[in-house]
Amino acid sequence: MSDKAVTYPYIPNSAPSVKREMLEEVGAQSAEDLFEDVPERLRVKDRMDLPQPLLSEYELKRHTEGILAKNEGGRAYVSFLGAGCYQHHVPAVCDEINRRGEFLTAYAGEPYDDHGRFQALFEYTSMMGELLNMDVVNVPTYDGFQAMATSLRMACRLTGRREVLIAQTINADLLSRIRDYCKPHITIKLVGYDPHTGQLDLAALRSKISDRTAAVCFENPSYLGFLEVQGSEISQIAHDHGAICVVGANPMSLGVLTPPADYGADIVCGDIQPLGMHMQFGGGQAGYIATRDDAATVMEYPSRLFGIAPTSVPGEYGFGDVAYERTSFAVREEGKEWVGTAAALWGITAGVYLALMGPQGMVEIGEGLMARSRYAMVEMNKIPGVKVPVFRAPHFREFVADFSGTGKTVAEINEALRTRKIFGGKDLTEEHPELGRSALFCVSEVHTREDIDRLTTALKEIVD
């Protein structure tokens, strides 16, 4: 690098003449004077040891793309990975909108600066409300994990109780998050399941529930892909004991499946990544929480809630924060948990997605996913030694395949699939040893019959 002073394109006042004049204006001899209140003993002694900069945009792009070129995947592979992050088609309009600088670079302006942000997020919660058949939906929190952890804490605050019962079929990583997040106050107990159907063991639930139980919690469709068909029985048992029924629901399923509110769920939560977010190595996650419009419940949300309101001009829609005084922005540690930057842009994007899909689109995609998973299960089950699905229950788009009968491990099978440019299912061997050598497969609307046939053909070759 040459010694000449750099005028950085992102730092206009780094131009030497401007910098000099501004220093003079503030009565400083040099930039060093600006830091006179930072004592010598706290100073960084030398220049930081960082990589040489790539000052031109072209060099930066070339360098970074060079690193990214080491990634593989995308359209070069057929992928059957899901487990919380889903490979759905992202409509072009979703990208067009969330890349608009007005949305991308806004933050915390007032409704007068950012009316569009408030309206777009109000419309997002409104469309989610239709999908979920619930009246209150939050501005997105970080992800589905945070949404469920917060839902459980909300349930504890609402009931004044400190114990939650969770279906054992829950995602182990999600359970890890919940355990940490609920640690200070809440005891977590797991409820077992029927090994043949995956369904929650109602007898076990009845034996564990008590007047100490704040919430009964399960996912539907479950992490392991099957549907929990006893939703109304579970919520009834919860309600009989004064507990709250918390259901984690994948929004993609709700064009065809009954919304949890209709079988008694009080708090519904989950992740909206499937609704128009690219997978981004996990960077497309965002969480939703939905409830009925009950004042006590609303006051337990930590998140921002945007509401509609009149303005001084008749017929003009205005928006603002609902019950702001419950938040940590307003009352610090007296607020409910905390609120801050989360995943609003993905909320706006999910709104665009739902508006594009409309009622018919959500029905068709739900049916299409079920048809594909059904086809994949039937075809895979024909392969000697492969048992699909493990659970005798209806499935949505994911299912567990047990390879124990093939004599091969899931890792071996996935490795062999990968050489054929196929990503097999998530290996469940360590997470669920009781399921044998099992993997969680996922289909989406991007899969053609040919894609699924390619998987089954490859599996036949591999296990043969």
Partner: protein, 530 residues
């Protein structure tokens, strides 16, 4: 008629006139009102194996009670209608790309380079599933690893997790690590107090409380500095830790920060440095030199990733070697040849997020640092502080505003101003001035609560506005302050040039009227009509 000199109406006596701004106003209906039965915004690929898998048969496996009876009540629009609706809403949003975004103090609203957005949207990032085999994601793991090395140098900490989904999530992670540390020493439940200051971000208090700690909040001394004597009085054998911002949200750097750390260490607590306000101290001073055990950065603030209307951003929490074993899993390891995700960490606080946080945000932050290097980061700090002190000087020339505390001292990256004198003189409040400023295409934010500084306004210019931008911003604020004297009604009834007019907030705090969804709004209107 000949050509007239248009420019002469744009300048008066060599001074630039204020913009005759008007925000876009489309009077856009709520999307449900645009619905027209039968319209489709996008079609879904059909399954060509349907014949083999008759849908009736598929749905027959689902019990009737689990099948949705009516399609969801979503709006029905053609694709162009959806696009146009959201384009209009986007125009009714200012964003840092449009306005001189220096009024959102504490948030470091700097320019987010477009090249970094392009890189983040690259298919080699966008299309990666987080559970792909490690060999197929070496590029993104390398970015995460390299960025961790960068943060280690910037902070002096030994290990980082890039998992926390935002700044507050990183503060929570640090609180959780503090809890795990004391538990590992058999002091779980004994050390149950976290100390913070009122000028530290509210999440330091709120996240500590969420993690199960009792929160002790210190108030500043007369000069606005965190009060060391108050800290000494607050520490005890119950002290779990200190969670503190520096420079605080006043922009004042606490030169005795290392003494604070010592006091807490001597009491047996850990110290977490909230570095959300690090923009003015990059390459100047670090968590390490002050003796901290933990720290965190906001990649959507200091490291330029765009704020996305409130996320996704990313938080990064850094710790000393002693605490590294508690970090969330997985962490990225490099064996000299390949990058791996390490889950085998028995003392970890566990998972923070479903996967690894927001890798595209990390990628943007990495690219931003790589475009600047060590000297460039130092230049960021110098210019951010220079811009702030320049703005301070210009702001203080406006009658009615002051910068309480630390008289005669430099401010680092921001200033919490007070309009107390102007409010007393005119009856116009700071919040009203900020809203009136929206009529000129800029805005400012008051302050977190509680308002320790009366009639507050918090400005943080960052390194990215030009001198002209700063001058224009001050000219608008000066004009609005003058209006408060000459025409207070005009200010109090603002905005006049915005998308919407004064909003009636009463329904938003009234359970019988608040409506967080269109369906709730329609229902409540019906109930009222009945």
């Amino acid at each position: 008629m000949g050509q007239e000199d248009i420019t002469r109406h744009r300048y008066t006596d060599g001074e630039r006139n204020l913009r005759r701004f008007h925000q876009a106003k489309w009077d856009e209906p709520i999307i449900f009102e645009l619905s027209c039965a039968g319209q489709r915004g996008i079609l879904v690929p059909e399954f060509d194996g349907k014949k083999e898998t008759e849908m009736g048969e598929v749905l027959a496996t689902v019990p009737d009670k689990m099948r949705r009876k009516e399609p969801p009540g979503l709006p029905e629009l053609s694709q162009a209608q959806v696009l146009r609706h959201y384009m209009r809403l986007s125009q009714e949003n200012l964003g840092a790309d449009l306005n001189i975004e220096i009024g959102q103090g504490t948030c470091t609203m700097k320019y987010s380079p477009k090249i970094n957005d392009q890189l983040a949207a690259h298919p080699k990032v966008a299309d990666l599933h987080p559970l792909q085999h490690e060999e197929t994601v070496q590029g993104i793991l390398e970015i995460m690893y390299r960025f961790e090395q960068i943060l280690k140098e910037i902070s002096g900490m030994d290990r980082f997790s890039l998992q926390p989904a935002a700044g507050s999530a990183a503060i929570y992670a640090n609180a959780s690590i503090i809890r795990a540390y004391h538990a590992s020493r058999g002091e779980a439940g004994h050390r149950d107090e976290i100390i913070t200051t009122v000028f530290s971000h509210p999440s330091n208090a709120a996240c500590a409380e969420t993690a199960g700690f009792k929160v002790i909040t210190l108030y500043p001394d007369e000069d606005g500095y965190p009060d060391l004597d108050a800290l000494k009085a607050a520490v005890s054998e119950r002290t779990a830790g200190l969670m503190i911002t520096n420079p605080e949200d006043t922009g004042i750097f606490n030169p005795r920060i290392d003494d604070f750390v010592k006091v807490v260490h001597e009491a047996g607590g850990l110290c977490a440095y909230d570095q959300a306000n690090a923009n003015g101290i990059l390459g100047i001073t670090r968590a390490k030199e002050a003796g901290f055990d933990l720290c965190h950065f906001n990649l959507h603030k200091t490291f330029s990733s765009p704020h996305g209307c409130g996320g996704p951003g990313a938080g990064a929490c850094g710790v000393t070697e002693e605490l590294a074993k508690f970090l969330p899993v997985p962490v990225v390891q490099f064996d000299g040849e390949t990058y791996q995700l390490d889950y085998d960490r028995p003392h970890t606080i566990g998972r923070m997020v479903p996967f690894y946080g927001y890798p595209p945000v990390v990628l943007r932050a990495y690219a931003w640092v790589m475009s600047l290097g060590a000297e460039g980061l130092r230049e960021v700090a110098e210019i951010a502080v220079l811009n702030n002190n320049y703005l301070l000087k210009k702001m203080l020339e406006i009658p009615g505003v002051s910068a309480p505390y630390a008289e005669g001292k430099r401010r680092i990256e921001q200033v919490r101003y007070s309009w107390e004198a102007l409010a007393e003189e005119t009856g116009v409040h700071s919040e009203e001035l900020g809203i009136r400023a929206a009529d000129f295409g800029i805005h400012y934010w008051t302050s977190h609560h509680p308002f320790i500084v009366p009639e507050p306004c918090t400005l943080e210019p960052t390194e990215t506005p030009s001198r002209d931008d700063l001058d224009e911003y001050v000219a608008v604020i000066s004009h609005v302050a003058e209006e408060a004297r000459t025409n207070p009604e005009l200010v109090k009834t603002a905005p006049h040039n915005s998308t919407v007019h004064a909003i009636d907030h009463a329904p938003l705090d009234d359970p019988s009227h608040w409506a967080m969804t269109w369906r709730a709004y329609r229902r409540k209107l019906r109930e009222e009509a009945d």
